[in-house]
C-alpha cells in the first residue's frame, strides 16, 4: 500500500467520488437533495457516522483477524454502524434539537446508506492502516457532502425552469446526476 494520505483523500473526494463514480449512497442522494438546507446537515451527519464507523471497523477487523473470525465481518460491521447511528442520534438530540428535527426520518436511514458500509468494506479490502482509513472516511464523507450540495443547488435552480412534464421527477434527477458525474470524470487521474 504505497498510496499517500493526500492521494487517498483526493481520490475519495473527487476522482473516485463515492456518489458520482462509485454509486454508493444513491438513496439519500436522490431523496434528500431537494433542498440545500437539509442537504448540507445530512452530508455532515453522514460524514460523522462514516468516521465513527470507519474507526470502529478498523479496530474490529484487527480483533476478528486475530481470532480468525473473518466470516463474521459483515454482520459485525452492520451492527457497529447501527450503533454509531444511534449514538449520533442521541448526541444530536441532546445538543442540537433543531437539527435533529430537521433531519427527521433520514437520520436513522443512514444505517442503510451503502456509502457508510462501503467505507468499512473498502478500507478492509484495500488493507489501509489506521491513518489511511481515517483519511479515507473523511475524504469519502466530504465527497458525499459535496455531491449532495451540488445536486441540491442544481435542483433548487431547476424548480424555476420549464421542464417537459413527462421528464419531471426521478428521470430528470438521474439525467442531472449523469451530467454531474460526467463533470467529475474530469478529475480522473488527479490522485495519481
Amino acid at each position: 500500500m504505497s498510496e499517500s494520505v493526500a492521494q487517498i483523500f483526493i481520490n475519495a473526494l473527487l476522482a473516485n467520488n463515492f456518489v458520482l463514480a462509485m454509486f454508493l449512497g444513491l438513496c439519500p442522494f436522490l431523496g434528500v437533495s431537494g433542498k440545500l438546507d437539509t442537504a448540507f446537515p445530512m452530508g455532515v451527519a453522514t460524514t460523522f457516522v462514516m468516521l465513527v464507523a470507519s474507526l470502529c471497523a478498523y479496530g474490529l477487523n484487527v480483533l476478528l483477524t486475530t481470532f480468525q473470525l473473518e466470516f463474521l465481518r459483515l454482520i459485525s460491521y452492520i451492527v457497529i454502524i447501527a450503533s454509531a447511528v444511534q449514538l449520533v442520534e442521541m448526541v444530536l438530540k441532546k445538543y442540537s434539537p433543531a437539527l435533529f428535527r430537521a433531519l427527521g426520518i433520514y437520520l436513522p436511514l443512514i444505517t442503510t446508506n451503502c456509502a457508510v458500509l462501503g467505507v468499512a468494506l473498502f478500507q478492509t479490502a484495500r488493507e489501509y492502516d489506521f491513518l489511511q482509513s481515517l483519511t479515507f472516511a473523511i475524504g469519502g464523507g466530504a465527497g458525499f457532502t459535496l455531491a449532495l450540495v451540488l445536486m441540491a443547488s442544481v435542483r433548487e435552480r431547476l424548480q424555476l425552469s420549464a421542464v417537459p412534464s413527462v421528464a419531471q421527477g426521478t428521470a430528470l434527477s438521474l439525467m442531472l446526476a449523469g451530467i454531474l458525474s460526467l463533470a467529475f470524470m474530469g478529475f480522473a487521474g488527479l490522485g495519481g
Binding site: L24, I75, V79, T112, C114, V166, T170, L174, G178
Partner: protein, 215 residues
C-alpha cells in the same frame, strides 16, 4: 381454490411488473447502477439479490411472531447479513472472476433497501409461502431491471451482448455508456420511456371517455 391461485399469481406479479423495484419504486439504486456494465454481471447480481430476498423473507416470515417489535429492524438486518455472507462465499467459490467484477457490491446487498423494505412491509405480516412468492417476484423484477440496464449499456458501450460481439470490427464503442455517467443516463432514459408510455395509456383511456382521469 381458484381464488388462492389468482392471489398467489398476483402476489408474484406485483414485484415483476406493477411494483417493479427498479422502474416503479426506484429502490436499491446503488447496485443497479454500479454493476450493470455488462449483461452477465447484471444477471448474476440479480440472481444473488433474489436469493437473499427469498431466503430472508422466508425466515423472517417464519419468525415473525417471535421477533419483539422493538428490535425487529436489527433482527432483520442480522438475518439478511447472514444470507449475504452465504452468497458472498458461494460466488467466491464458483467464479473468482465474477467475484472480482462485482467486488464489494455483493456484500453491499445487506443495505439494499428492497430487501429491508420487503421484510418490513410484507414478510413481517404474512405467512411464509405468500411472503416467499412475493419476494421471488420482487427478485425477478429486480433482475429484469438490472438486465434491461446491463444489456443496453453493454451493447452501446462495448458492442457486445453477454460477451458475444454484435457489430463486427467496424463498430466504434460508445465508451461513456460503461463508465459511471452512462449508468445514470441509461436509467434516466428508461424511466423517461416508462413515463411516456404511462402518459399515452392514460390519454387513450381518457379519449375513450373512461371514468376518472388521473391528475
Amino acid at each position: 381454490m381458484s381464488q388462492t391461485t389468482v392471489s398467489t399469481w398476483e402476489e408474484f406479479m406485483e414485484g415483476v411488473w406493477r411494483q417493479n423495484p427498479v422502474f416503479v419504486m426506484v429502490l436499491g439504486m446503488c447496485p443497479v447502477l454500479a454493476v450493470t456494465v455488462s449483461g452477465i454481471n447484471a444477471l448474476s447480481m440479480g440472481v444473488a439479490t433474489a436469493f437473499v430476498l427469498v431466503c430472508s423473507c422466508g425466515l423472517i416470515s417464519l419468525l415473525r411472531k417471535m421477533i419483539p417489535k422493538e428490535v425487529r429492524i436489527a433482527t432483520y438486518i442480522v438475518i439478511i447479513a447472514t444470507f449475504v455472507t452465504v452468497v458472498d462465499y458461494v460466488i467466491q467459490a464458483v467464479s473468482l472472476a465474477l467475484y472480482d467484477a462485482l467486488g464489494a457490491f455483493i456484500q453491499l446487498i445487506v443495505v439494499n433497501c428492497i430487501i429491508l423494505g420487503r421484510a418490513e412491509a410484507h414478510a413481517s405480516k404474512t405467512p411464509p409461502l405468500p411472503a416467499m412468492t412475493n419476494a421471488l417476484g420482487m427478485g425477478i423484477g429486480f433482475t429484469i431491471g438490472l438486465l434491461a440496464l446491463g444489456c443496453v449499456r453493454e451493447i452501446l458501450g462495448a458492442g457486445t451482448l453477454f460477451g458475444v460481439s454484435l457489430f463486427g470490427t467496424g463498430f466504434q464503442p460508445w465508451v461513456v455508456m460503461v463508465l459511471p455517467p452512462g449508468g445514470f443516463f441509461v436509467l434516466g432514459a428508461w424511466l423517461l420511456v416508462f413515463a411516456a408510455w404511462e402518459r399515452r395509456k392514460q390519454r387513450k383511456f381518457a379519449a375513450q371517455g373512461g371514468g376518472v382521469q388521473h391528475v
